[in-house]
């Protein structure tokens, strides 16, 4: 287990360094984009004096290094500053909008794992048969168009032409759920409202699927490719020679060694979905971080831009850490990495 702790510690350290780097980069990039944030925030009718006061309050006239120093000092206290767009602390805004996005990405991630991997296993086990061809078609479709295009197609087909799923939003208006965590799946359960829970589930299927489609295809294709390679390994022939059931050979003997590369890709896709979610959210009017993100970028709302990017990067890094730890757990070579005795 010590090597597991080692993996975790080293990933935490590198992630921390990456976050510092990201914070610098976005901090400087946001400031070199042309346009005066104070002027944009106050509008064209504000007097030059008002603009000057706000610039002072935002410390915009200090050198950029000093500004960054203030930013880091605030960040250490968990303060990302005030959004000029909403006039509220950026942390409050993020706490309001992030859960919807995380919920969407999380469900899409589950779809990738629980649809993509089994499809890959089936395609490898029955290679050359119809299920294999179907999986190839799905993965082709998945990569042939970006997820927001699939969002539009799925919405048109399954919400508009065939009204099976709701067309937009997180939950029907008829439900009023007291906000506790911001995560609807948690809040509806806390409220003891199972119908609202099911309704939220019904709403998330289409956008999550649109977001997950390319990942499902990739996970399936990669799992298939690795398993087909694994099927040629001597230990599979040995398993066959012992008459282990074919299903068990597929699900255990061939799948487990193939899981490691698949998991790596799923981790990357999972993180990429955080970015793709922006457009899918726009299509499905999903009240997530995307609307907020777009609005603050257009208004050059510096604190909000930096805060949003930082949070998304942190989520990205956390997902990668989880994947690395999972791989370490699955791969006995890492878990039992021998040390010189």
């Amino acid at each position: 287990m010590t090597s597991l702790v080692r993996v975790l510690l080293s990933r935490l350290l590198t992630s921390f360094i990456v976050l510092i780097g990201v914070s610098m980069l976005i901090f400087f990039i946001a400031r070199v984009i042309p346009g005066d944030p104070a002027r944009i925030a106050l509008g064209p009718n504000a007097s030059p004096e008002q603009v000057l006061v706000l610039r002072e309050a935002l410390r915009l006239d200090e050198s950029i290094i000093v500004q960054y120093g203030y930013f880091i000092a605030d960040l250490a206290r968990g303060d990302l500053g005030i959004s000029l767009y909403t006039n509220r602390p950026v942390t409050t805004d993020i706490a309001q909008f992030l859960p919807a996005t995380l919920e969407l990405v999380f469900v899409a991630g589950l779809m990738m794992i629980f649809i993509g991997l089994p499809l890959g296993i089936l395609a490898a086990r029955y290679r050359g048969r119809w299920i294999d061809h179907t999986v190839r078609l799905i993965s082709l479709l998945g990569v042939s168009a970006p997820s927001f295009v699939w969002a539009v197609i799925l919405m048109m087909t399954f919400a508009f032409i065939l009204p099976v799923f709701p067309i937009a939003g997180r939950i029907s208006d008829s439900y009023t759920i007291p906000v506790a965590s911001g995560f609807l799946f948690i809040d509806t359960l806390l409220a003891g409202n199972l119908r609202a829970f099911a309704n939220a589930g019904w709403h998330i299927i289409l956008p999550a699927f649109a977001l997950a489609l390319s990942g499902i295809g990739q996970a399936a294709r990669l799992t298939r490719a690795n398993m087909v390679e694994t099927y040629d390994k001597p230990y599979i022939e040995m398993a066959r020679s012992y008459g282990f059931p074919e299903k068990r050979i597929a699900n255990r003997y061939a799948f487990r060694p193939s899981l490691i590369p698949s998991l790596t890709i799923i981790g990357l896709d999972f993180a990429a979905m955080l970015g793709n979610a922006f457009l899918v959210e726009a299509v499905f009017a999903w009240p997530g971080l995307s609307r907020y993100g777009v609005a603050v970028i257009l208004r050059k709302d510096l604190n909000a831009i930096v805060g949003t990017v930082l949070i998304i990067s942190a989520a990205f890094l956390i997902v990668n850490i989880i994947v690395d730890v999972l791989i370490a757990i699955i791969n006995p070579r890492i878990r039992h990495s021998q040390r010189p005795k």
Binding site: P234, M238, G243, R256
Partner: protein, 294 residues
């Protein structure tokens, strides 16, 4: 009741390749009596492994393979069995040892977990605890120290020789009546190979297990086998008691084989001239039923 464990009669095999049939085995006949150790020797590509795989029923599932002939196992015609019936024999009544022990064990599971799976073939309901005890006893029986530590290890944590013993212990765990060893331990150190073969010999003698020993190492044949079959390009070109064949080889190919490998522990066969016509000439009649006659 016949005393023969395995009887292969006029086995032919061809593979469909690019719409053409490529013949690999030609009227192969071979028999093994209960508890007998029989070697099948021949150069690489002569058809040794496919013969073993056909006996186990592993090749029948291949769409490109066309197999004819009769295989009788403990007196029963395997061709008359259902796929499920053949499947039931694998890992229980017949088992196989492969060339490279370390890559033949699954890297993702411990030896103990894989041993449990093997024992489950013989006793489907065996508990993890009972499996561990039985596996430990089997490993101790093949002179392995600290069987518990081995069972908790992954294949990559053990040496090739240890994995080899694990494979032998697994192969004999369900007391099969036939063990097929396909060039076992060729990937191993020669002394390790010799040691494990000695242990294996003791075990199969104790259990009365018949062995089909596939090799191209004449030294090993001398040590291990009661009788020898020589396979050349898919044909049995010579057969007989080990001593007789090794001291008085009749067939030109066998002579070339013996001349090419004077070493006891040679890894393989050195180049043999392409005197195909002489080599391919049949030395004895192996018509239908020829093998069945004692």
């Amino acid at each position: 009741m016949t005393a023969l464990v395995l009887e292969i009669i006029n086995l032919n095999l061809s593979f469909a390749r690019h719409g053409e049939q490529t013949a690999v085995l030609h009227d192969v006949c071979l028999s093994i009596a209960r508890g007998e150790r029989v070697a099948l020797v021949g150069e690489s590509g002569s058809g040794k492994s496919v013969t073993a795989r056909i006996v186990l029923g592993l090749l029948g599932e291949l769409a490109s393979a066309r197999i004819t002939g009769e295989i009788r196992f403990e007196g029963q015609d395997l061709g008359a069995l259902s796929p499920a019936g053949r499947h039931a024999l694998r890992g229980t009544k017949m088992s196989m040892i492969f060339q490279d022990p370390t890559s033949s064990l699954n890297p993702a599971y411990t030896i103990g977990a894989q041993f449990h799976e093997v024992l489950r073939r013989g006793a489907p309901k065996i508990s993890a605890k009972a499996a561990k005890e039985r596996a430990g006893a089997m490993l101790a029986g093949i002179s392995m120290d600290q069987p518990d530590r081995v069972l908790g290890s992954y294949p990559f944590q053990l040496s090739g020789g240890m994995n080899q013993r694990v494979m032998i212990a697994m192969a004999l765990a369900n007391t099969p009546s036939l063990l097929i060893a396909d060039e076992p331990g060729t990937a191993l150190d020669v002394t390790v190979q010799a040691q494990t073969l000695k242990l294996m010999r003791e075990l199969v003698e104790d259990n009365g297990t018949a062995v089909l020993f596939i090799t191209h190492n004449i030294g090993v044949v001398r040590e291990f086998a009661d009788r020898v079959y020589v396979l050349y390009r898919g044909r049995i070109v010579e057969k007989g008691a080990t001593h007789a064949v090794l001291t008085d080889a009749r067939h030109p190919y066998t002579r070339a084989l013996l001349a090419a490998v004077p070493r006891l522990t040679g890894g393989g066969i050195a180049d043999i001239g392409e005197e195909t016509d002489v080599f391919a000439a049949p030395m004895f009649d192996h018509g239908p039923g020829a093998e069945a006659r004692p």
